[in-house]
Subunit: 336 residues, 2 copies
């Protein structure tokens, strides 16, 4: 029931995701009177869907603490509960991010060794997409938390993108070791000194992210959120200027007619819908947040991300990795 | 002598700036054997230039502390001294940013009431350019420092861009009052409660910067630097993809031929050289940092920025404003 155009984009999106992955089945939590008529339009989806009538919902403006206290019967909460109860392998929501994070943390708990979950997503670059986290869950982070994010991002890149040896970097204001604040320098020291087989490349700058210099970029949720939205804003500035230039003269209109397939390629290449679906990394279960303003195609992509994460057992693999750290740290502790 | 292509872009850039502003004259600090042959190619510039032979220079890798201690005879230091001695109205350098900041602070001192100077520049948006600071001088800031940056940025927008009532916002991860960390929320409280006639609009997000929602965006140097470089990186990603698409097929090449003037307009609109020239705001004097990798046109723009700041008495106007705060604070203190 969350997001700007629910439940229609959710149902249409689920149907599109099912078209791509025929092994999916759905538990849909929402207001039956609104959802059922939409479901009827998708017989294939209806056949693999169980609809649970939950008229109660979390609004976009609801504070996370209020959602936790008063949202126990909401569609969002019951969907998260279904993951906890192993009725569902993953939950996808286009609703209130803060509430989804708070309830997921409360219900599913963080993985042992993880202090706080991070929001993680793929971003387009000049080369292959980059894994970036945290994109906004934690406005302040300790060095140890950045270290955990690095470990989780590395697993994501390896497991989900099949990078055999992902390169990992911390986002900073310069690449030299002396740059940045105490937290980012301490996190770099932790990663450098770690005996984990992580390919840690030190610091990268804002320009390096979209240049595709590394596979995984780690930062705190404040910087990550600003960077993500700045990139979105710049892309939008570029696109709107391009549209304006091609629309403002006869020459532009003729050039547009000829260049249209190319401009569509450009649009598709950076289509935010194809990057929709951010994982809440570090939880005992798969939780994927769809952009609230996306359409059915975007929501379908978020469903696919969730399905891929669940069927590749991403949380379990992150947990294995974290166990390795524990084992290594214990070993190091014993030696030292 | 600083930057990637000094001294040639410096001399060519000064000549271009002089073409635009005939009231300029120059003190040039650098290695005479390198600078003199270049100057000879520009008779008009030579006529208004005094060249001071300073073979000593600050390298790009030199640490700020080392530059302070051992760079007393460097071209950078002597150029800053010339501002202190009122021989020059402003200093422009394409060299080592950290060294330029450290030496400027040491020689010129900060304005009374300013704890730390900020790096401030204009960025393109969907509407008119936005003033943004801090872009990297201070990786950590207090709420009070963000407040000072807001005051300085507002003056810059009013004095330099002729905005009668510039709108000012703090960069954050969301627009609601509860968003962000303690520092940004405390800075917002200071600005909201201030009796200064600043049009404070609360928080903006990364997307709002390039949408041109406000005239002045204030942030700490870590976030500001990452945001600036992310915007640059995204623009570069877009441009290179566009170039690749137009170059990769016959259709693209034909469309390019027709669209060329439009694509040049696009390029010119976001030409980083036209935004080159960042002011070190909060010093007793005008110090402008040019991008190290720019060309003569970019350097000329930085010179023009410096000349405009000096002839509009920007530091003095910021000082006046800071005096007003002091007066207001004292008055409030007496009332309270």
């Amino acid at each position: 029931m969350g997001g700007d155009n629910a439940p229609s984009i959710v149902i249409d999106g689920a149907a599109m995701a099912l078209d791509k992955r025929r092994d999916l089945s759905f538990l849909i939590f929402g207001d039956r009177s609104l959802v059922e008529p939409l479901l009827k339009q998708h017989p294939a989806l209806s056949a693999v869907t169980e609809l649970r009538d939950t008229p109660d919902r979390i609004e976009n403006e609801t504070k996370p603490s209020t959602a936790l206290r008063h949202g126990r019967q909401s569609s969002m909460r019951l969907a998260i509960n279904a993951v906890k109860e192993k009725e569902a392998a993953a939950v996808v929501s286009a609703g209130n991010t803060g509430a989804l994070m708070a309830m997921s943390k409360y219900v599913l708990k963080t993985l042992p060794g993880v202090t706080r979950p991070a929001i993680c997503s793929l971003l387009p670059t000049k080369k292959k997409p980059v894994v970036m986290l945290d994109l906004g869950a934690n406005v302040e982070c300790t060095a140890n938390e950045l270290f955990q994010f690095a470990v989780m991002g590395e697993v994501y890149s390896r497991v989900m993108l099949n990078n055999p040896k992902p390169s990992v970097a911390l986002l900073n204001v310069g690449t030299e070791e002396v740059k940045g604040d105490d937290v980012v320098r301490a996190a770099a020291a932790l990663l450098r000194d770690s005996t984990l087989p992580i390919d840690f490349c030190g610091f990268v700058e804002g320009t390096d992210v979209s240049d595709g210099v590394v596979d995984v970029v780690v930062t705190d949720g404040f910087t990550g959120n600003v960077a993500l939205k700045t990139a979105e804003g710049t892309a939008s500035l570029f696109t709107s200027t391009l549209r304006q230039l091609f629309g403002s003269s006869w020459r532009g209109k003729i050039a547009y007619l000829i260049a249209r397939p190319l401009l569509h390629k450009l649009r598709d290449r950076f289509d935010p819908r194809l990057y929709n679906g951010a994982m809440f990394m570090g939880l005992n279960g798969v939780v994927v947040k769809s952009h609230g303003g996306t359409d059915a195609l975007g929501f379908a992509n978020a469903v696919t991300v969730a399905a891929d994460l669940a069927s590749s057992h991403a949380p379990e693999k992150i947990l294995d990795e974290l166990h390795t750290i524990d084992a290594v740290e214990v070993a190091v502790g014993q030696v030292g």
